[in-house]
Symmetry: C2
Subunit: 340 residues, 2 copies
């Protein structure tokens, strides 16, 4: 088969890779219906993460089970399934507590390279969630979104303790931030403030439920949030970037006793302890335990309660994956859907 | 009156200060029954905090209301009261959410200097909690403890999400850490691991409910916690020191999805964002909102359910305050009670 491989900064190639095979008896092989490019893929694409050798890319996926190992019992060939970007056994104490992305046997799906027509999924029983029946094609983008970008936005809102009546600020207008808006709306937030300077993203944020747009950044952005919240700050802040500036803007935008949910993969961030101490905020984040939310999120998509697939504003055949990265890198596209 | 004033590192003097007076109509003046030296007083005493001029010291207090301003209605002269180290109005949105230490009108009691026979308490209605009747003398140490050291240990356990059945690790064997043990026990923790190398403190920890003692520190301490928890880490970790080492030891001792409650006043701490991200822990702390817990903690003391006054292992007349600091600085005393 042919799939995406990253060779170095800006150098994604679509090239021959080995067909995935069952290696462990707990594996499944999927024929992917759709895959996509993640904002976090841009870190190595931009040279911010290094890697020792050419790296198969992609960790968001949904599709049809092609084959299962002999110990797999929860899914079977022919079923449509979605999984998270971490494979997990879903039975260890960490999984049972809802932190499947930190399963004691967690496997990073990025190592499998989901920007390809076929994918090996380890720990298939714990990782994959099947839909009741084969979904129509127009629901595939929404189901694909549950695999990471929606699951991550949802976790961010949950980690930020979004509750009915809360004021929520969202730092980061990428696909995760936008779906953080959608998640906060679903969780009953009263006021959702999207911090964005990008017109198309502002528009989608408003459609997903944002009530206000703030274009200022950094300290000025914090001041605007304070002004809009009676000087107190937001109850909940979603951090969906991962830089020092975005982290500090998030912490400073939250009121004392408020919550910051941070899901941008942190790069070069150092949180000053004294400031965090006196901020009085709750800080929680990390790689989203998407598996915890998958059944609920799949239901919301299938019942047409939400349409998270709208973050895909560019659809390309898989062999044009390099253009998919370029468009996101240049912020011409929010998120690129790839069709194998 | 005469009270404690810090002139510089190691230089606490007991000297003439102005008698406190009602300044604002919301003030009360207390005649203190007891006061004490806080672990956080040792930061400036050791030169880790600087201050521009001689600094009245002390922020833990209980005693009898002597006089109230004309707008004070919740307490009256003759009542025995306890207050927190932050005065707060207890009516603003931040107070109502339980974060009185970050009240929009919060006043740091340290500025008033509670290591003295009399004390002005601003915002008396919001700050002070009266006992139903005059407590017997032997309950005064316990009631004094609720003012900060117990309230802070309790907040740490709460911020660390201690729940029935949880395994709790406590980093820091000062009075706050020890009362974190007592608090965790009250909250139903199943296993409470005190990290301490100091025999008298180990003993008191065991009496307060610790089930295990770990003498290793740093990475070795983390390894021991991991070994004792099936490789996972503790559900809840109480950080009661405030250094880089104690903060990282705490974060690393918690399991993914676990909680760290940090109450040691952080000095020179920088939390690496990437490590926090992948740790998956919840981080919450800061100056404890003691006022939130005061009514409950006072009840627990008066009903003899707990005896937090046992952390005071040195009692001195107030005029020997300098020796009280020295004994704590040299770790000869856990905590010094001062009798005006």
């Amino acid at each position: 088969m042919r799939g995406a491989v990253l060779y170095g900064p800006g150098d994604v190639r679509f090239e021959e890779r080995d067909d995935p095979k069952i290696i462990e008896p707990t594996d499944a092989i999927l024929r992917l219906s759709a895959t996509c490019v993640c904002g976090s893929d841009l870190w190595p694409y931009r040279g911010a993460d290094t890697f020792p050798q050419p790296q198969p890319m992609g960790h968001e996926y949904c599709g049809v089970v092609e084959e299962v190992g002999r110990e797999v019992t929860n899914v079977k060939p022919g079923q449509f399934v979605v999984g998270s970007f971490f494979a997990s056994d879903n039975t260890c104490p960490i999984c049972r507590a809802g932190y499947q992305s930190r399963c004691v046997d967690a496997r990073l799906m990025g190592n499998e390279g989901a920007q390809a027509p076929y994918l090996r999924v380890p720990l298939a029983d714990g990782t994959l969630v099947a839909t009741p029946e084969m979904p129509p094609d127009d629901m595939v983008p929404g189901l694909l979104a549950t695999s990471d970008v929606l699951g991550t936005g949802w976790f961010a809102a949950d980690a930020a303790n979004v509750r009915p009546g809360h004021t929520v600020a969202v730092v980061g207008d990428g696909a995760v931030g936008l779906l953080g808006v959608l998640s906060a709306k679903q969780m009953g937030a009263e006021r959702i403030i999207m911090m964005s300077r990008h017109e198309a993203r502002q528009k989608l944020a408003l459609e997903f439920g944002a009530t206000d747009i703030v274009t200022e950044r950094g300290d000025e952005g914090v001041e605007r949030i304070k002004e809009m919240t009676g000087g107190l700050g937001a109850h909940s802040v979603i951090e969906a970037v991962g830089t020092q500036e975005s982290m500090m803007q998030s912490i400073r935008s939250a009121r004392p006793g408020g919550h910051v949910g941070f899901v941008g993969v942190t790069h070069g961030v150092e949180i000053p302890g004294m400031e965090l101490f006196f901020s009085g905020v709750h800080l929680h984040g990390g790689p989203a335990p998407v598996r915890r939310y998958l059944p609920h999120l799949i239901d919301l998509v299938l019942s047409e309660s939400i349409d998270p697939g709208r973050v895909f504003d560019l659809t390309l055949p898989l062999d044009q994956v390099a253009e998919g990265y370029r468009a996101m890198d240049e912020r011409r596209a929010i998120k690129t859907l790839l069709c194998p």
